[in-house]
Amino acid sequence: MTETLLTISGLTKAYPGVVANDNVSFEIGEGEVHALLGENGAGKSTLVKMIYGLVKPDSGSMTFQGKPFAPPEPRIARALGVAMVFQHFSLFDALNVAENISLGMEDPPSQRDLAARIREVSETYGLPLDPFRTVGDLSAGERQRVEIIRCLLQDPRLLIMDEPTSVLTPQEVEILFQTLRKLTAEGVAILYISHKLEEIRTLCDHATILRLGKNVGTCIPRETSARDMAEQMVGSAFEAPARPDRNLGAVALDVSGLSVTSPGTFGTSLRNIHFTVQQGEILGIGGVAGNGQDELLAALSGELTTDANAIKLHGSPVGSFGPTARRDLGLLTAPEERLGHAAAPDMSLTENAMLTAASREKLMNKGMLNWAKARIFANRIIEEFDVRTPGPENAARALSGGNLQKFVIGREVLQRPEVLVVNQPTWGVDAAAAASIRQALLDLAAGGAAIICISQDLDELMEISDRFCALNEGRLSDIRPALGLSVDEIGLMMGGAHGMEVSHADA
């Protein structure tokens, strides 16, 4: 039996209108991998922010290595041996690897000594990294390595990892797990946050399940089925999307030789992309974040224009058209970033309905806007897609992620697209909303529309797509039938383990 490292008892944190954590308690032992399992919005992030000193609990207490533990700020938590690998927002693109790591340390050595230590740690744990590269140029997997090394350099007792595998290929996940096992062998405890059940069953010793801020159960993942865990996490069983029979029709969208230079400094340019989608077909495009997904969506939506013949809709070239002209012809899109890209946060839902539907839904006449019609359209989206909101005059930012996503997808679906392109349609969305969005896409395809679904969620892609391919550094892999693809094959299509050999980690 191992020593208890961290005890959490009765932690509660409320925000206006929502209780993020309600009386949560559990324990983590030394050398243990403890999973924190829950849907989006279940309160996982708030909980770890309290452990890391970023958020102060309203009530409850913690002990760490037997002593009372209430870090007022992250540097105190770090000094005591708590380290955290963030999902977002924690790297500085314009700075190099060593500078980034230095910023996460209390008493960093000089840059030269630090570089030497980075090399040392990266070799020990099989995480190759050049200390002097600019972070903005790194792949998602490499960026995560920066964070992990930043944590390891401080000899942590507890390592918190927030959704670490969402940016990795299956091969990279395997390497990460080997690194983590090496750490636990040295007595480091790991608090592992995820909603991917199979991963947790492979890696974790114990799991605490959160739902709506409450601790709803604990289990030993190796001895519990994924289905049982899922039901505890979601609270009730729900149906997997039904996949109606579909007849594939003529080619709706034909992309050939599409190359686009990324407008962003640290973006990924698209290189010579070819694919076609038929009516009634769903093409799934996988890949690790930052491999050209945003650029591909922008090139298809018309935000980035290209050579006219690179994109053909029903045989006629549209590559040089802007978003409005493409919409009029039936090529609709829904970008990944809901707030600020797909929708304007401070504008009402009526105004956000106007945003893409003005021309196609005839909400304007010679440039003059018909707000009454836009309101009716917004109400239709709210009703048909079960968007939970007091009404269309509410601001987009007041909606929860899932509800806003339903609104955004609904806005495009109700415009009767010939071709619909979606990027990360269920990212950060609770399971029920995700299921209804997937169902909407399947129904739309059954009605004869061609759908391109760009996503990092492989389970989602396997569930809905007819054919699968992956983006890797701006290039598209071969396209293969989704049915019967193995995880290994998918991983290789996504680029395998970027920049490293799997065998390296075994050494």
Partner: protein, 360 residues
Amino acid sequence: MLTLEKRPQPSKFWTYMTPLVAVIVTMIAGGMLFAALGKNPFTAIGTIFWEPLFGEFSFYYRPQLLVKGGPLILIAIGLSLGFRAGIWNIGAEGQYIIGAICGAAVGLAFYPAESWIIFPLMVIAGALGGLLWAMIPALLKVRFGTNEILVSLMLVYVAEQLLASMSLGLLKNPEGFGFPGSRNFQQYASGHNAELITGSGMHWGVVAAFIAVIFAYILLNRHILGFHIRLTGQAPRAARFAGVNPKLLVVFCLGASGALAGLAGLFEVSGPSGQISIDFNSGYGFTAIIVAFLGRLHPVGILLAGLLMALTYIGGEIAQSNLGLPAAAIQVFQGMLLFFLLAIDMLTNYRIKLTNRRVA
């Protein structure tokens, strides 16, 4: 400890209350400033806000409200379009000067011929002058990505030098006994922007300002272009996604604000001011920035804010002659107004909460 908490959506109440509260707070702070300068704060505030409207000589001052408010409103309406879209034209003063020079030059070219067509031609020339001057930052931004704030502002200083050069050279009155400055339009009927109703202060510039208010209102609330302007300011990426061409928008917003500032300059030089002279410009282009913000970038708000700002100008002049209040004090007063407005504006999007600092 006080903390800010973001509202789920902007507060309607505070959207309308902010300017009012800002005016009241500015009056209080301004009163303290005037007291520090050794003036009775109540007399001073009263002189500025009461005297021009209801005082003994209000029959003279009231028309001035329109004369001074007209150009402020006209310029601020133009600026507000760009400000809404995140396009910062702060060189309206320069566009105002160039509009005046171009319009005056066309008028003077016809002198002494008399015809009804002359004044409309001057108006067109004034608008075009301002438009072209604003096209410099617009095209540089579109073509090279140059910062429009810096370029439009640098062009103010260039325009001021051009103004000096014009009033000493090309446009100098040949019968002016060597004094700098052009012929006076008040003595040239075809080119004179005269009062439309005697004693009202109403001239063509004021009419133009009212028309601009109505047009801007329709544009922003009912037209796709206005929707795109608002969208670009609030969420630039969403605007691209909606199909907005940001470059065209830069050209439109800078062009419109330049043309309106140019018009304001033309109406001023051919009317109240009368002639091109070295110190023809009086800072309307900068004060209009305050007017635009005070009016919350809303056309009707700008109309009211323009009149209020005109009031402080006129009241300030009265306070200057009656109480010996320095002109600079009024400038500080106007600056404070913008300060308080920006500070209080946070209540639209945030609410203040009292929280306990240490729990845990």
